[in-house]
């Protein structure tokens, strides 16, 4: 099913269209955000809203990234896997903006305060750890490094499973009230992880070798 040459004809353009869609879908909200802030559309004091917007975007991109492989597999649509790299990199970009907004706009780059908060607040430590892993994944997504790392590349990039859990946990502990929204994201993450439990099991086994 789906392996016939006629099938491949429309699959490639579709995959490419989706790829363009990923870039636009990740970029346009940032442009919108820029315009909205400049026009005062995020309210009197946009800092908290901005940080939340960027954080929510990061989590959604993470979940989308996690969706790609199992979807490609079950639809026998291998070219979907092309979306993983742009999605992952955009995810890192959004996470970096989220983190930078917190550093610069909320804490005003007060490094002693930032250091203290990173150490003392578990939810910030969770978010920071997730960002550090994303940083490592983003750097190693350079094609040259991918080839050089061989099997280790897969081992390292399996850490995305951990990032998703850290991000949801970070969200869960950061909310002031109302556990429902983070619970929904946690549930989606768990469903996605369960869906690909076979790959996760393989990843865990590979780590032991």
């Amino acid at each position: 099913m789906g392996r016939s040459s006629s099938g491949a004809d429309w699959r490639k353009p579709l995959a490419m269209t989706l790829q363009v869609g990923v870039h636009l879908g990740a970029l346009l909200p940032l442009l919108w955000l820029f315009v909205a802030i400049n026009q005062g559309r995020l309210g009197g004091d946009p800092v908290k809203e901005l940080i939340h917007y960027l954080g929510m975007g990061t989590i959604r991109l993470l979940l989308l990234t996690l969706l790609v492989s199992p979807l490609a597999k079950s639809l026998h649509f291998g070219q979907l896997n092309r979306l993983r790299r742009p999605l992952g990199l955009w995810c890192f970009a959004w996470a970096t903006l989220h983190f930078s907004a917190w550093l610069a706009l909320d804490l005003g780059l007060d490094w002693s305060l930032i250091g203290g908060e990173l150490v003392k607040r578990t939810y910030i430590l969770l978010g920071f750890s997730a960002w550090l892993i994303l940083l490592a994944l983003a750097i190693t997504s350079l094609p040259a490094l991918l080839r050089k790392m061989g099997r280790n590349w897969k081992k390292l990039h399996g850490l995305l499973y951990i990032v998703v859990l850290l991000a949801c946990w970070h969200f869960w502990w950061s909310v002031k009230s109302g556990w429902i929204e983070p619970a929904i994201y946690f549930a989606i993450a768990l469903v996605l992880l369960l869906w690909r439990r076979a790959s996760i099991a393989r990843w865990l086994t590979s780590l032991r070798r």
Binding site: G40, G43, M56, D106
Partner: protein, 333 residues
């Protein structure tokens, strides 16, 4: 000493900002365009607001007569547009702009306030009549939110203590319990847990009797020289400047003097994070962030970040620290 009794004819802060300036600023806030960003990534509740904001005409704010505050040179006022567009009023949604967007239709006139409990003369007061006869004054206060941001706001109101005296509190009145309007039809956050942030409504707050009687504690009916907009707690709300903002209960319908410490909304929701006293205290952190400093929301744009140290009792220690002598403020946060 920050609060001075000014002469009745002194110019007020309200006179310093031309109405055209804040009206034009406010129109900027109106109406969010659609956009792929909004469609793709805005939180669902917000996304709805983005498109509905245009249809809600701003509630009418009436000019008030009051004794103006003397300027407080060391304080910079937060612009009016920011005071009225950055609010926590979970009855209208948990986003900072939700209250301004969703509360404009709140029916604030007529409005009655019932004072009952341990008083010899319980009564129900017409708040709009009260505004005209009680003798209002302006107070320029720091406002420190428990979320580590702060503003400086020119409130218009009257001392809660003097007001309560009218009802002749009995000797058994040890605490004052406050209650916000409960009207799920008008307040979407009360209809839907998701919109209202999981708070158990109606919102309730409380003060110890000596805190309530303190001259810094006011019931506010206005800001920037006019009656309160709904998102700031119209028509009458509590302002206790040395406590975190969530103590300043909004749109009050009932005040009950009681013998025992009353329950308070945020304390019920997360007792390890929000205490009954909630005095601004840079030495006692919130479990999830430092309270040692705060982001001041003043004039200027996104990148003019002003992080400033938080003062004990929000700068009012001289006046109120005595209320808590001998108390362990780390335990009674």
């Amino acid at each position: 000493m920050l609060i001075k009794k000014p002469p009745r004819n002194a110019p007020s802060e309200a006179h310093a900002t031309p109405e055209s300036a804040y009206v034009s600023r406010r129109t900027v806030m109106k109406g969010l365009g659609a956009g792929i960003g909004g469609l793709l990534l805005a939180r669902s509740a917000h996304a709805l607001d983005l498109f509905s904001s245009e249809k809600n005409a701003a509630a009418v704010r009436k000019p008030l007569e009051f004794a103006a505050a003397k300027p407080v040179p060391e304080l910079t006022l937060t612009p009016e547009a920011k005071v009225t567009n950055h609010n926590n009023f979970y009855e209208f949604g948990t986003g900072k702009t939700d209250p301004a967007e969703n509360s404009q239709g709140l029916k604030i006139e007529p409005w009655t306030l019932t004072v009952e409990g341990e008083v010899e003369k319980p009564a129900t007061v017409d708040v709009w009549k009260l505004m005209n006869e009680i003798g209002l004054e302006e107070r320029i206060y720091r406002m420190r939110c428990v979320e580590a941001w702060s503003m400086v706001i020119p409130w218009v109101g009257f001392e809660l203590g003097k007001f309560l005296q009218r009802f002749a509190p009995t000797s058994r009145a040890k605490y004052v319990a406050f209650e916000t309007l409960y009207d799920p039809e008008q307040m979407p956050g009360q209809r839907n847990r998701y919109v209202g942030g999981g708070v158990d409504y109606p919102y309730v707050e409380g003060l110890r009797m000596d805190e309530a009687m303190h001259p810094l504690t006011i019931l506010s009916v206005g800001l920037y020289g006019k009656t309160l907009p709904p998102q700031n707690g119209a028509p009458v709300r509590l302002v206790v400047p040395w406590k975190y903002g969530f103590k300043g209960i909004k749109s009050i319908v009932k005040i009950k003097l009681v013998e025992r410490m009353p329950p308070t909304s945020w304390n019920k929701l997360a007792p390890q994070e929000y205490g009954f006293y909630a005095n601004v205290n840079p030495a006692v952190d919130h479990p999830r962030w430092s309270q040692a400093s705060e982001r001041f929301i003043g004039p200027g744009g996104l990148f003019s970040v002003k992080r400033q140290p938080t003062l004990p009792f929000n700068g009012y220690a001289e006046e109120v620290a005595g209320l808590y002598s001998g108390m362990n403020l780390k335990k009674f946060y």
